[in-house]
């Protein structure tokens, strides 16, 4: 059909309500409660979704990532380009443990190699405290965070948004933006929860303390 004819058929509606203001969103499960600590709620939600979460001082993120991946026996590891300042420490720590990571960007055209990856490591544009979600985008590669059985995300604590409403205002400008919250899952067969259906079955988020809050005790 032509656009105009198609739209014309949708006219003649009964009047509906005005579009409500969302300035004071009622308490929703996707928002932080007053006084709640962002990181503590984030960790709680990640763990509730069967993911792992760890907070480290700046410079220690490489160790956290490498220890997790070595412990899982991962050897084919790809790093996404959105890791930013975390890329160097992660790369160095992996190499020190005998794992030579490849760049996701270099691999992406090679379908067979993508399928053979054990783990990917990406950054995140936003972390969402109230839902335990991380936001990645086409900037890191659309499939980067879910092509391998293990996904590790490294992001600074100052990326933590309180809830979904705040996060929607902080999204990166990319052709695809995706929230993900814990491992891929299904309950289609007799309601039994199975992790790792299409995406990773094992996930870790490493939250790097921002320098300001870093002073007292390095983890």
């Amino acid at each position: 059909m032509e656009r105009e004819a198609f739209l014309a058929r949708l006219a003649g509606a009964r009047p509906g309500p005005d579009l409500p203001s969302l300035d004071d969103l009622p308490q929703a499960p996707t928002e932080l409660r007053p006084g709640e600590d962002r990181y503590e709620r984030f960790r709680h939600e990640v763990e509730a979704a069967s993911g792992a979460c760890e907070r480290v001082s700046a410079g220690h993120e490489g160790l956290a990532v490498a220890a997790f991946l070595a412990g899982a026996g991962a050897t084919r590891v790809a790093l996404a380009s959105d890791l930013g300042v975390h890329r160097e420490p992660v790369h160095a720590a992996l190499v020190a443990l005998g794992i030579t990571p490849v760049s996701y960007d270099d691999l992406v055209a090679e379908r067979a190699e993508l399928g053979a990856l054990h783990a990917t490591v990406t950054g995140a544009s936003v972390l969402v405290a109230a839902t335990g979600s991380l936001v990645t985008s086409a900037l890191a590669g659309r499939a980067a965070a879910l092509i391998a059985p293990i996904h590790v995300c490294v992001a600074s604590e100052d990326r933590l948004a309180s809830g979904l409403a705040e996060a929607l205002h902080a999204l990166p400008d990319a052709s695809l933006v995706a929230f993900q919250s814990g491992p891929s899952r299904t309950a289609d067969i007799e309601k039994k929860l199975i992790l790792g259906m299409h995406g990773p079955g094992s996930t870790l988020v490493v939250v790097v303390r921002s320098l300001a809050s870093d002073a007292p005790t390095p983890a």
């Binding site: 059909m1 004819a5 198609f6 739209l7 014309a8 058929r9 949708l10 006219a11 003649g12 509606a13 009964r14 509906g16 309500p17 579009l19 409500p20 969302l22 969103l25 009622p26 308490q27 929703a28 499960p29 960007d105 992406v108 993508l114 399928g115 969402v128 109230a130 979600s133 086409a138 900037l139 590669g141 659309r142 499939a143 980067a144 879910l146 809830g163 979904l164 409403a165 929607l168 999204l171 052709s175 695809l176 933006v177 995706a178 929230f179 993900q180 919250s181 891929s184 899952r185 299904t186 309950a187 289609d188 067969i189 007799e190 309601k191 039994k192 199975i194 259906m197 299409h198 995406g199």
Partner: protein
């Protein structure tokens, strides 16, 4: 799929479904934790105010479709998306087939989409020589077995693990264990290969954001996101009423949808696809198409049933409905079961047999209480009864029988249901009660086992 309606009635289909003892246990087993989880999740939240907002956002969108859809289309086109307009199912199928053939595609992967069930897309793609693979685990089972989904959220709620094992063992050519984990792993392997080989990925849309030209997809498995990531062409099939005005509206509608549908705060994957791969991005489709589908929706705009277009397809009204819980989704004869199916089917399907579905309800009102966007399902069902079936041709006695029959659906077991109806059937040999004598033969003895 009209075949399931033709020559049958809700009663005959129910008799058939009630004879499946697994389903009658499986539905409560599957949906009761979701309903309980919903209430736990919202404890301490202001769910009622959130529902008010959800109702107003959706009601506003449905009342302003020409303006909002025009905005959506403009924004999508600005983002580099090709937008197509399908008046009916046949046109929607033809558009998708032609996109695939212009792209030289041979293999298609699909993420779960009820709209593509409505328009019976898969047979049309197969007839055009395309290989189609459903990638949602439940939909994959449905496809392999030539079955139909029986619940909006849990398509194979009616199937046992043993049946899935048998099916997958046939595909694998070797005996798999009856273990949900192993069965899912087998499917993952098959489906990953399909993803990596696919030329075209077809998704539905949970919401279409007019302000940004984004298609929002909600999945737990991650297949929605892979569908938009790996194939070189992405086609999103969008019912025209899926539009929402603002990106911010998702802060209201997503928790309402995932809370009601799966008792989750948020889904594992919430994907916003706003166009093909851009310059500087490392992967993603070269082309993105959005097919806007009317398919009977514009006829509902402006009618007494307009509010049903606010539906966000969460499945909660199915979970809570005493009729659905007894007979399952297939008894409704078309794509949607439960209260939402009882309203939508007569509106979307022209067949005479579809018009009686307003009766497939006990009018207990449980669906109104749970619907996250406050659709007055109970009122809509009453209006349907007035307009479509009982109407002028049914005697007062028969209407009374319907009411008793409806009431009986609310009883917790089919044993009690049939016991209650036995004397009624003997004394009032009319309408539904008469049909229940047949029903009793099927279920009465089973109910006692």
């Amino acid at each position: 799929m009209s075949d399931h309606l033709t020559g049958t009635t809700f009663q005959t289909r129910s008799v058939e479904q009630l004879a499946k003892p697994f389903q009658r246990q499986a539905i409560p087993n599957a949906v009761d934790p979701t309903v309980a989880g919903l209430h736990r999740l919202f404890a301490g939240s202001d769910r009622d105010r959130l529902r008010d907002l959800g109702r107003d956002i959706r009601g506003h969108a449905v009342a302003n479709l020409p303006k909002l859809v025009a905005q959506l289309v403009d924004q999508l086109e600005t983002n580099g998306v090709t937008v197509h307009f399908a008046g009916d199912a046949a046109e929607a199928r033809a558009i998708v087939v032609s996109i695939c053939s212009r792209a030289g595609a041979r293999r298609v992967v699909k993420a779960k989409s009820m709209l593509t069930e409505e328009i019976e897309l898969n047979p049309a793609l197969e007839a055009a020589g395309l290989e189609v693979v459903e990638t949602d685990l439940g939909e994959y089972v449905v496809q392999l077995d030539g079955d139909r989904p029986s619940h909006i959220i849990g398509p194979i709620i009616h199937r046992t693990a043993a049946e899935v094992r048998e099916l997958f063992s046939r595909v694998a050519g070797t005996e798999l264990a009856e273990d949900a984990g192993e069965l899912a792993r087998f499917a993952r392997g098959q489906l990953r290969a399909a993803f990596l080989a696919a030329d075209v990925g077809i998704s539905g849309a949970n919401f279409a954001v007019a302000e940004t030209g984004s298609i929002a997809l909600v999945t737990n498995e991650g297949n929605g996101r892979l569908t938009t990531a790996l194939p070189r062409v992405h086609i999103a099939m969008v019912g025209v009423e899926r539009v929402v005005p603002r990106l911010d509206d998702l802060a209201v509608l997503v928790p309402l949808l995932t809370g009601s549908g799966t008792a989750q705060r948020i889904t594992t994957y919430l994907t916003l696809a706003s166009g093909p791969r851009r310059e500087g991005e490392v992967d993603g489709p070269e082309e993105m198409h959005v097919v806007l589908v009317d398919g009977g929706r514009s006829a509902i705009v402006g009618s007494d049933y307009q509010e049903v277009l606010s539906c966000i397809r969460c499945g909660a009204c199915q979970n809570i409905c005493p009729v659905y819980r007894q007979v399952g989704g297939h008894a409704y004869g078309w794509v949607y079961g439960g209260p939402i199916g009882a309203v939508l089917t007569p509106l979307f399907r022209p067949e005479a047999e579809a018009q009686e579905l307003g009766q497939a309800s006990s009018l207990c009102g449980a669906c109104d209480d749970i619907c996250p966007v406050r659709i007055p399902l109970h009122d809509l069902l009453r209006t349907l009864r007035r307009d479509r079936s009982a109407g002028a041709t049914v005697s007062r006695g028969e209407r009374l029988a319907f009411r008793i029959w409806s009431y009986a659906w609310a009883s917790p077991t089919v044993f009690r249901l049939s016991a209650l109806l036995a004397p009624l059937a003997a004394r009032v040999p009319i309408g539904p009660a008469r049909r229940f004598t047949a029903l009793r033969d099927v279920v009465f003895s089973r109910g006692r086992r």
